[in-house]
């Protein structure tokens, strides 16, 4: 089952990390551009006031996904297949992130969107690319009022638990584990791609304690549906820009199937 036709379902993760997403492109002319602003609460920051990599990846997935989804209308809606984000820093000036997403390529089966991220002083912070598969939901393509707007603004962000604490990600000595609960599902009814990215970040940090993911390439191979979801990291090597870790994600409750592969760089 999907939550694509009920705006209240499948958006908990997006609301938790926050972000006010607005469509600004000339949609009547076929142009899709999304801008977003997120005022970061303590729940998505670490002890050094840096944005948690998993939260940044989730926001990139949300913004790039909305852009790709709107671009895929009326043929279908999108599900993330490949997310790449390169962050120059995770230190966020003024605690504000601004996003801009544009369509790079719109194909029959896939759409590629760029995501540029700047901080509250308009300095570049990260650059991302999201590839999404265009699928037709069983109960039809969702209808959107255009220009689209999604206000994912938590009412009391400083009262929320820390992102990873809320997710319940834990290190059990054999990688990190996440139990799946309904709030973690996206509008398709599967675990949000940003949550999977956060689990990947946590698995990387388990391999390189004290470091944070700055570069990530995530291939989403199959949905995480059942759980527990387990991510195991393997150090590949060290370079001047950080430690490179390969992470494999499996849905243990779904015959332990491989659901994502990632290579991340932590520093």
């Amino acid at each position: 089952m999907t939550y694509l036709h009920d705006p209240e379902l499948g958006r908990t993760v997006a609301r938790f990390v926050g972000g006010d997403l607005r469509e600004i492109g000339d949609h009547a002319a076929g142009e899709v551009v999304i801008e977003a602003e997120a005022v970061l609460g303590a729940h998505v920051l670490d002890g050094h006031a840096h944005v948690r990599a998993g939260a940044l990846l989730t926001m990139c997935d949300n913004v790039g996904g909305l852009c790709g989804g709107l671009a895929s209308l009326p043929d279908g809606w999108v599900v993330s297949t490949n997310l790449m984000v390169r962050a120059t820093t995770l230190a966020v000036a003024r605690g504000v992130l601004r996003f801009r997403s544009e369509v790079v390529r719109r194909g029959r089966n896939a759409v590629v969107t760029s995501v540029e991220v700047r901080d509250g002083e308009d300095a570049p912070l990260a650059r991302g690319m999201l590839t999404s598969a265009v699928l037709v939901p069983r109960n039809g393509v969702p209808q959107w009022e255009r220009p689209a707007r999604i206000e994912n603004v938590p009412t009391a962000p400083d009262e929320l638990p820390a992102f990873y604490e809320w997710l319940g990600v834990r290190d059990d000595g054999d990688g990190v584990v996440l139990d799946v609960f309904d709030a973690l599902r996206n509008p398709w009814g599967i675990v949000h791609g940003g949550v999977t990215a956060a689990v990947i970040d946590a698995a990387g940090v388990a391999v390189v304690p004290g470091a944070a993911t700055h570069d990530a390439v995530v291939h989403y191979l199959a949905p995480n549906r059942v759980g527990p979801v387990r991510a195991r990291g393997r150090a590949l090597g060290a370079r001047a820009d950080g430690r490179v870790v390969r992470v494999e994600v499996r849905d243990e409750g779904a015959d332990n199937r491989l659901t994502a592969l990632a290579v991340i760089t932590l520093r």
Binding site: M129, R239, L258, L261
Partner: protein, 272 residues
């Protein structure tokens, strides 16, 4: 699965000069190797990232085409992480299918040198599944592992570079951070566009040009947007960040003659 080499690549082609060798294994994995000559290495003696990407793309293409049969494939994205220079006289790549779907195939590959067992890098690629068209290479199943048609050698008599491989591809620096090339049959893929590995080499050359002397590319992420067919094909790299001994760049590759964006890439370079 082996490709009918009488169809692609043509006798004079960069894949033949790279002297790529393939071994298709019954396990479904494919193994590729090429000699690490001075012409595929930088001044520090390390194989260039674009050459590694070319080998990875070639092995990934073979695996993906097999998984997509009877359809054909095109590279959608390629990421490469090099963690140490491959040591030895040959570059070795072992690839396997991570996911074979209706519209995409995802490949993962390990990169090593032939001396020592240390991993030198990893690559992942997504291939889009296309409808087969006339002129697409034909795949022939190997008889058995180790058989004649399970091993393939790209080199012809006389194959090999007489100069730096990037010069042979026609890559020329136009100014700091900007390089370009002209499409030619020598660097084309089976779709008649500039080969994905050559575009990776172009991105690598632009990144190194932008970061400055002494840098070499260790990370490449490429998203292939449209075919590069007309030319000139120009890559422009802009520095995103610099740290101690490393820098990252964004690379835009455009087909100037066609007036379209061909490839979006980012790269990380470290000082060798």
């Amino acid at each position: 699965m082996p490709v009918d080499l009488s169809v692609y690549p043509p006798p004079e082609h960069m894949l033949r000069d790279l002297a790529l060798e393939f071994e298709h294994r019954a396990s479904g994995e494919s193994f590729a190797s090429l000699p690490l000559t001075e012409h595929v290495c930088n001044a520090a003696g390390h194989v260039r990232a674009g050459i590694v990407a070319t080998a990875v793309d070639a092995i990934g293409g073979g695996l993906a085409a097999t998984a997509a049969a009877p359809g054909w494939i095109a590279t959608a994205d390629l990421t490469l992480h090099i963690v140490a220079p491959p040591a030895g006289t040959r570059l070795e790549v072992l690839g396997r299918v991570a996911r074979a779907g209706r519209t995409t195939v995802v490949i993962e590959a390990e990169v090593r040198g032939n001396r020592g067992a240390a991993l030198a890098g990893m690559a992942t690629m997504t291939f889009s599944v296309l409808e087969r068209r006339a002129g697409n290479p034909v795949l022939t199943p190997p008889d058995e592992e180790g058989s004649e048609n399970a091993r393939q050698m790209m080199a012809n008599d006389g194959s090999g570079f007489g100069q730096c491989a990037y010069d042979a591809f026609g890559i020329a620096e136009t100014r700091a951070g900007e390089v370009q090339l002209t499409p030619a049959p020598y660097i084309e893929n089976s779709l008649g566009a500039v080969q994905g590995g050559v575009l990776a080499s172009l991105a690598d050359a632009a990144a190194v040009s932008a970061l400055g002397p002494g840098f070499e590319t260790v990370d490449l992420h490429l998203f292939y947007i449209s075919l590069a067919k007309v030319g000139p094909i120009r890559a422009r790299a802009d520095v995103l960040a610099r740290g101690t001994g490393w820098g990252s760049v964004a690379v835009a590759i455009d087909d100037i003659g066609a007036g379209r964006h061909t490839c979006a890439a980012t790269a990380v370079g470290t000082q060798s």
